[in-house]
Amino acid sequence: MNRIALFLPLALFVVLTVVLLLGLDKDPTELPSALVGEPFPVFSLPALHDANQILDEQDLLGDVVLVNIWATWCFACRIEHAMLNQLEEQGVKVIGLNYKDNREAAIDWLKKRGDPYTFSIFDERGRLGIDLGVYGAPETYLLDAGGTIRHRRVGVVDDRVWNNEFRDLYAQLMDEKR
């Protein structure tokens, strides 16, 4: 076995590592929604707490907001909820999108755990979720004051995620608003 042949396994491994590294970038749950940089989809859905009140995308304008997809059937949402409550106390405006859920159960759930949402949109059939390209719950979108989606997180938002992905962008968007 001459010298060159001995280095072959290492070379192949380096190639493999590069492919895997690139693959991580392409991770499906990391992939930003095609909608990042686009205005939030048009919709017309009732509010969770008041079936007679109809909300649309205009209600998301004017402030930097988080839109959080949640549901009572989503277990990880319970874990995330404490974080959302904390963010709301710190002055972050959070809007809920109750996804494919039962209205009474959802209202009850919020009563028990605290309601960090300025309001919750009731998307019973998941139509808005389809347009957004939602995989499931929890998911969180960061919108700027003009209603454009600036970031998307698939999965729980905890301290680490907030600090790494949201905090700086949020601060920047708040500055821009002023």
Binding site: E38, V42, A71, I130, Y135, A137
Partner: protein, 152 residues
């Protein structure tokens, strides 16, 4: 040592030739068996090859599930929000298959642009959607919005 060297050289040449043949074969077989995913929009536009085994999926259109009363033949439609794809299948549908939920099917598209599916897969969890379908849905929404033009 000359004959030993010759023998070694022969072996090396043999290995290289075998390697090239193997690589060629692997690349060929990968090409033949790589099952691409197509959205209903792509199939409707004719972008999907006919008679080739592929996968496609979307949201099952409400009310589109038709069953043959005498056999296990079914037909249903899936959509990505833009276009609709008709899927025909004979056999048992997966447990989590339902109208209004996401489904992926594998099979061949015939000349009527109907997918003759040999397999139907639904998501493996009650409330989650396969990433390919979710992505295609949001992209379809974007395209629709662009073609409709303007904003509300």
């Amino acid at each position: 040592m000359n004959s030993l060297r010759k023998q070694r050289l022969q072996v090396v040449v043999l290995i290289i030739m075998a390697g090239i043949a193997a690589s060629g074969l692997i690349i060929y077989m990968l090409g033949q068996n790589a099952n691409y995913f197509y959205t209903p929009s792509q199939i409707a536009k004719g972008e999907a090859p006919q008679g080739v085994f592929l996968r496609a999926g979307g949201m099952v259109v409400e009310g589109s599930l038709l069953r043959d009363p005498n056999s296990l033949a079914v037909e249903f439609k899936v959509t990505d929000g833009n276009a609709v794809l008709i899927i025909q299948h004979t056999g048992i549908l997966p447990d989590l298959f339902d109208e209004g939920e996401a489904a992926i099917a594998a099979g061949k598209v015939d000349q009527n642009l109907v997918l003759q599916a040999t397999e139907v897969l639904a998501k493996h969890d009650e409330n989650y959607m396969p990433p390919e379908v979710a992505e295609s849905m949001s992209e379809a929404y974007l395209n629709k919005r662009k073609t409709e033009g303007g904003s509300r």
